[in-house]
């Protein structure tokens, strides 16, 4: 059962415009969320995170929004640049007695068109 879902497998955006990547989750016990970016032939790179006690976290061009009641988070990239073209994974953290476990979405492939 996929507890973290990214329903859009791909997204294309013009350079300079906003990119919005969406993620939904089902487990209300998740209390920390992360976004990763992955280029071909590389491992995922941590991008930005948000704690469940916040509804927004901003880092430069990247902003993550969390809507706990809707179990939804989104990543906004403004302005989008061609170098942002990559696969973006959202992840959620569940804390357990034996340690933390991360659940990943299936990814959204973003293409920024020059």
């Amino acid at each position: 059962d996929q507890q973290v879902k990214q329903n859009s497998p791909s997204l294309s955006v013009q350079e300079g415009r906003i990119s919005i990547l969406n993620c939904d989750y089902t487990n209300s016990m998740f209390d920390y969320f992360l976004w990763y970016k992955k280029y071909p032939a590389e491992g995922p790179t941590f991008l930005i995170s948000i704690s469940s006690i916040k509804d927004k976290n901003e880092d430069g061009r990247f902003t993550v929004f969390l809507n706990k009641s809707a179990k939804h988070l989104s990543l906004h990239i403004v302005p989008s640049q061609p170098g942002d073209s990559a696969v973006y994974f959202c992840a959620a953290l569940a804390r357990g007695y034996t340690g933390n476990q991360f659940y990943f979405g299936t990814g959204t492939s973003l293409t920024v068109i020059p």
């Binding site: 996929q2 973290v4 032939a41 590389e42 995922p44 790179t45 991360f102 990943f104 990814g107």
Partner: protein, 115 residues
Amino acid sequence: SAVISQKPSRDICQRGTSLTIQCQVDSQVTMMFWYRQQPGQSLTLIATANQGSEATYESGFVIDKFPISRPNLTFSTLTVSNMSPEDSSIYLCSAPLAGAADTQYFGPGTRLTVL
């Protein structure tokens, strides 16, 4: 952030053989993780590698198929045993930043193709 390297970066293997993937972290970490990403799928956790104890495997993964070693706090290996084409995947190791267990950092991955 931790720097994580993996070897080999890619390999093409024959059915029935085994491949050992190495993961090196540039700082000491308590826990290391092994993931698999099959084509079009999300990252799936195979096991957690604990130094000084047996690895903890997730549902659907067993030690006989994916034996793991963790000889020290900076190194781990994952072996994919008796491979079949269904094992073709990207295998990734990861570790949390020291003092920040809430964030995973990943190695570059090993792309395995089984013929």
